[in-house]
Amino acid sequence: MTAPALRLSGVCKSFGRTEIVRDVDLSVPRGERHAIIGPNGAGKSTLFNLISARFPVSSGRIELNGGDITSLRAFEINRRGLSRSFQITNIFHNLTVFDNVRCAVLWSLGYRYSFWQRLSALADASERADEVIQRIGLRRRRDTLASTLTYAEQRALEIGITLAGGAEVVLLDEPTAGMSRSETEEAVALIRRVTEGKTLVMVEHDMGVVFGLADRISVLVYGRIIATGTPDEIRGNPAVQEAYLGTSRAHA
């Protein structure tokens, strides 16, 4: 049996004395679409930041395709095939849509830090970038500066940059945050399309999105995973209903 795409064992994170993530074990097999849900402040984004090495873990171990990535830096993890998007749009504002995506394909095509090749002569990079732009539906905005895109377009570009490098494991942090109903539907269709055959881990607040997209769901409450299972299992889980859905009903 092959190693899971992503495995977390005993992962903890504290900021000072505050424990944000407590002893998280999680295993995501290859090709699965896995959603992490939980109330606000449960530590979902922090968990993502630990996996992608934006923050160092306090203790525990993170494996990507069986290899230890716990102490690697963000760019090293990216080169091993894990890519992520951000909850707050994190793009290259003063570059065009095309350049944003082209930058994201350069490393995976082996151009590294080359200063002896002309970008415009690298046909494979341009083709791949145009392909991604086509898939995220921004072809008409190809030569627009990223900073002048609409919010939904920037979110699409965010996903485009995340996927352009061809990573096999993709982490999406609230990809539909702040979107209208119709924008959300488009975004879900986009995510479904572009993550075909990949391992997807996503944090999402929109339950419609989660139950529609995910193969399995983990529920994070106060930094602990209290349940993992298929959407049906999660819906029927009394602990989840009490801890998570209960609190959200109390909020509403």
């Binding site: 290259f92 504002h93 080359s114 090749q117 002309r118 940059i161």
Partner: protein, 421 residues
């Protein structure tokens, strides 16, 4: 998809025009002053562009860029001395390359320290390193030449085809061709994977990490390459003046190159070229006219930062867009109208500055200024009343006209947008 050609017609045209300008410019006047002005502009162009590889392209504000320029100049000078002593068999034509390699070497050495961080930390470290290098240059007089600097003779032999680098015109062409090659190389560099990733690191270093790039390595490589070009500029200076003092690596020189880039515009590749041109002309031409040139220098910097934060280049680009849209002509009347109060205020300010400078000299007789046959006398109250009135009227008019100009510009842009959609 076919790769884009290196030389499109329009690119060939603009580069060709640039080269032609460089080659023809020295023929316009026979004066030695003109030639040394052109030489200095060509050198500063390379220096300012190398600085902008950091600021404009990578987002690194360096307060110590003169280190690479000055050290490049000193190393070139040592090489020239060695050539003169027949120790080093290198033709003088290739000596700027020695300066470049020197800049590259120190880029590797110092860049390793400076590029660990970006932002304010980088700026402060670059300032510290700059001061350290400047201080140690006086501690190692054998290398820097101490207070007196290093000097040598660029005419090292009979030369080749009559090119001895004795006459200034020959040195000018050496500088101009090296300069042109460097400008082309820096332009090309901006169009490579590293160049574009440097832009990405400038915009968002964190995201650059999440697409597989180590921002520290990107910054380091850009500092090293910028160090090379600054070193070439230093080498050209060494050959041009045949003397190098430690002033060339001081904070003053670092500050000068920052001003060139800012005044020209850091957002455009050609911005620093305009800046180098403007500042050098101001430095050489205005300084020969008035002792207050440094004051005007500061004033220009202030005006640009306040009213054209994108630098001269952004103003040029903006008006070229309006020109192409055919709406620039509509702005002309408003601009002409604005020119009157601008000139009035400008002339008033110049009169004040010049008179104050003259009065400061404690020599009452020198408090006269002859302008167009009129003698202005600063010791008279009437003069000050007239100047104050001119400035006040100018400012009042300017406020009125500013509205008209901004309305016209809004209208021009509205048409521009309409035509596009």
């Amino acid at each position: 998809m076919k790769p884009a050609p290196v030389l499109t017609a329009s690119r060939l045209l603009s580069w060709g025009a640039y080269l032609a300008l460089i080659l023809v410019a020295p023929l316009l006047s026979r004066s030695g002053y003109w030639l040394s002005l052109l030489s200095q502009i060509a050198i500063m162009t390379v220096f300012a562009l190398s600085f902008n590889m950091l600021l404009g392209q990578t987002g690194l504000l360096s307060f110590g860029h003169a280190v690479y320029y000055g050290l490049g100049a000193m190393i070139t000078m040592h090489a020239l001395i060695a050539v003169n002593h027949h120790v080093l068999p290198i033709p003088v034509t290739l000596l700027p390359l020695v300066g470049g390699l020197g800049g590259l070497f120190f880029g590797v050495l110092l860049g390793y320290v400076t590029t660990r961080r970006a932002g304010t930390t980088f700026a402060m470290i670059s300032l510290g390193i700059g001061e350290m290098v400047a201080a140690s240059s006086l501690m190692f007089p054998a290398f820097s030449g101490g207070e007196g600097g290093l000097s040598s003779n660029r005419v090292t032999g009979k030369g080749w085809l009559g090119i001895t680098y004795g006459p200034q015109i020959q040195v000018y062409y050496l500088i101009a061709l090296w300069g042109f090659a460097c400008v082309v190389a820096m332009y090309a560099l901006a169009q490579t994977p590293l160049g574009r990733i440097a832009n990405a690191v400038r915009d968002n270093p964190e995201r650059a990490e999440f697409i597989g790039y180590n921002p520290q390595v990107v910054r380091f490589l850009m500092v090293v390459l910028a160090g090379f070009f600054a070193g070439v500029a230093g080498g050209l200076t060494a050959l041009n003046y045949e003397i190098v003092t430690s002033e060339s690596l001081h904070a003053y020189t670092s500050g000068l190159v920052i001003m060139m880039a800012f005044v020209g515009g850091v957002g455009y590749f050609f911005g620093p070229i305009l800046g180098a041109l403007l500042i050098t002309v101001l430095q050489m031409a205005v300084s020969s006219l008035t002792a207050a040139w440094l004051f005007y220098f500061g004033l220009l910097f202030l005006v640009v930062v306040l009213y054209a934060p994108g630098g001269v280049a952004s103003v040029v680009v903006e008006h070229r867009r309006l020109w192409h849209a055919g709406v620039l002509g509509r702005l002309a009347p408003a601009y002409l109208l604005a020119a009157v109060p601008v000139l009035l205020v400008g002339a008033g300010l110049v009169a004040v500055v010049e008179m104050v400078y003259r009065l400061m000299k404690e020599d009452a007789a020198s408090a006269h200024l002859r302008v167009f046959g009129f003698t202005l006398d600063a010791s008279r109250g009437l003069f000050w009343i007239a100047v104050a009135a001119a400035i006040a009227i100018g400012i009042l008019l300017l406020r009125k006209v500013a509205r008209t100009v901004s309305d016209e510009r809004h209208r021009a842009y509205a048409t521009l947008r309409q035509e596009r959609t």
